[in-house]
Structure formats: structure tokens, C-alpha cells
Amino acid sequence: MIVGITARAAGTDAPVEQRFGRAPYFVFVDTETGKAESIENPLVDAAGGVGPRAVQMFSEHGATVVITGQVGGNAAKALEVGGIKAYAYRGSGSVADALAQYTAGNLQPLPLA
């Protein structure tokens, strides 16, 4: 399973970013192999419509779970239709910490509909 986490920098040591579509980086972690891939988000300075476009990037990377602070209405709709589950991480820890919290079942799902 691939989990996508919004982050302020590359790598699993980077702090989690609370914003979804305008997060500077997306870190995709394959939970089976433990491998992480960091993508610089080209939408950081985009004018608008970043939510659905970010969801499209998560979909392209095969992510089925997203961990972030919060998502907007259009992003929520795209996540729901795309079958991607979103979980809220409101702490100030790292990507690795968010992933550990998710694996331990400590994160609440974000309401999408």
C-alpha cells in the first residue's frame, strides 16, 4: 500500500505540512518495502484549483491513503471519487512519525463528503 504524506521538505524526517494542495512536498511511502519517494509540489504558487490537481498527483503515484492536516471541498470530492482515504495528522512531528501514528491506528479519518 502506498501512503502519501504532505511535507515541508523531502524525506521521511521532514515535518508534516498541514496544508494539502499547497504543501511544498509530497512524500509517498510504500508500506511493504518501506521505500519513500519525495516529489516537489509544482502547485505551491498556482493561482487556484490546487486541491483536485494534487489529488490527481496522489492518484498517479498509486496512493490509496493520504495523511495531511486538512483538505478543501474540491479536494475532498476528488479524494472520495478517487477512492483515496484521508487521515488527519495535527501534530508537529515528522513524516515518519505521522506514518507510525497511522499504522498504530491513532489517526482520525478526515470527513470527505
Partner: protein, 283 residues
Amino acid sequence: MKIAIASGKGGTGKSTVAANLACTLSRSREVVLVDCDVEEPNLHLFFPATTVDVPVTTPVPEIDPARCTLCGECGKFCRFGALSVLKDRVLVFPELCHSCGGCSLVCPQGAVREVPRTVGRVACSRPLPALVLISGVLNEGEVQAPAVIRAAKLLAEGHPLTLYDASPGIACPVIETLEGSDACILVTESTPFGLHDLRLAAEVVERVGIPAGVVINRSDGKDEETLDFCRERGLPVIMTIPFSREIAAVQNRGGLIAALLPGWEERFVALFEAVVKIAGVSP
């Protein structure tokens, strides 16, 4: 002849000037007044009448799932995020679409069809025997003001004398309104804010290439700074409306000073003559 009324700053009296000018001119000829302030049109408050409404639509994409291979080209192309290409379908967000048509051009499968979507309406009426009022109305939550302005202006085409009342600001809706005008009346007021935004608006009309004149509204008689600016920029001051309780009282109950206060009809006739001179075309 087409005359635009703009200002930069909101609340300077664009609609007051437009409505009084339209009312005055309609005594001697056919006039069409177009309310291009489509986010908050209010000229109809001066001219209540029954309207005939025409919907304004704009094209948005519709995906044919039988042809779509989910290649992702449309989603990559759309800079407004109106298309999300997901694992098993393309999700369209019509309210994010700016109707550029790019998605249908880049689709290699011909799977994108454009379908009309209503974003507003144009309300037409004849409140006075020789005055037609055409008001653009953008639906709440919509962004495509220029589409509604274009439709309103199109419905006014073919008339010999048209007045366009612009929205405040100097962005896309104002540019759309100015487009094709022979002259522009810039309405300002005797405040630092009025002058600040007059500078911006004057720059815009100059860039669009439309000759302009200035109306100073709510003048307290101390307009030196504005007059200096107009002199510097070669902008003639073609009318000054004083700050007066009498004018405010008429205005506040939705009345027209050209119809209700002595002397103002003549002043608006003179304003029109000044604009004709600025435009350099025959009215």
C-alpha cells in the same frame, strides 16, 4: 457611439453619472444603457421595469467515458484544476473551469465534448420610452464575469448610442467593458482614495487606447490635487458635482438629479457634448 463609465474606486458615482446621462439623453434620442457591473448590478434601482431575461452560458467539458483512456493529458493541461484524472474516471469541477477549451484540444481520443453551463443572465427592459436597460447578472459563486459582460454588450449591439457602466476595479471585467468603447468617463471623488484609484484607471484606459475625461463627484471645492493630476495627464475635467445634501437626498431615494433638480439636465447634456468632443466621432 459607445461610452464607458469607469472609476477604479467603488462608490464614486459611476452609476449615478451613467443613469443621469442615460435619462437625459433619452429625452432626445434612443439610448441603451448596459450595466456591466455584473457582480452587483444596480442601475435597475433607478429604472424599475419588467425585464425579459436571457441566460448566459459558458462551455465546460464533458467526458465521454467510452472514449476516455484516462491518459491524463486534460488534467495535466488544465491550470485551473477543473479536471482530475483519477484511476477509473475523470472528475470535472465545472465551477473551476475558465472555458478555454484546451482540454478538448489536447485530448488524443476526442473524448472531451463541450457543453453549455449557465453562469448568469442578461435582463432587458425599457423603463423609459427611448431608454433600453440591459443588465448583466452573474450568478453567485461564479467567476466568469467577462462572459456575462460580453453577452450584455452583444445584446446592445446595433444601437447608435450605448452607455456601458463598468464595475469598480481595473481587472478583467473593466477591460472587457472598455473594449470597443469610443470614449470613457472616469468618475472620481474628492478624496485621496478617489485620486489614487483614478491614477490606476487612467493608466488602464490609456493602455486600452480609449480617450477619457474626468467627472469629479462629491466635490468639496478643494480638488487641486485631482485637477493637477488631470492637467499632467491631459485628461479634461468635464463635470464637477458638488458635495450637497440636496443631491444626496434625491440619490438616496433612488431618484435622478437630471429629472428632479433644476439645471442638471442641461449639465448632463453638456457632459455628453464634452464626451463627443473627446471621442472625436459623430454621435
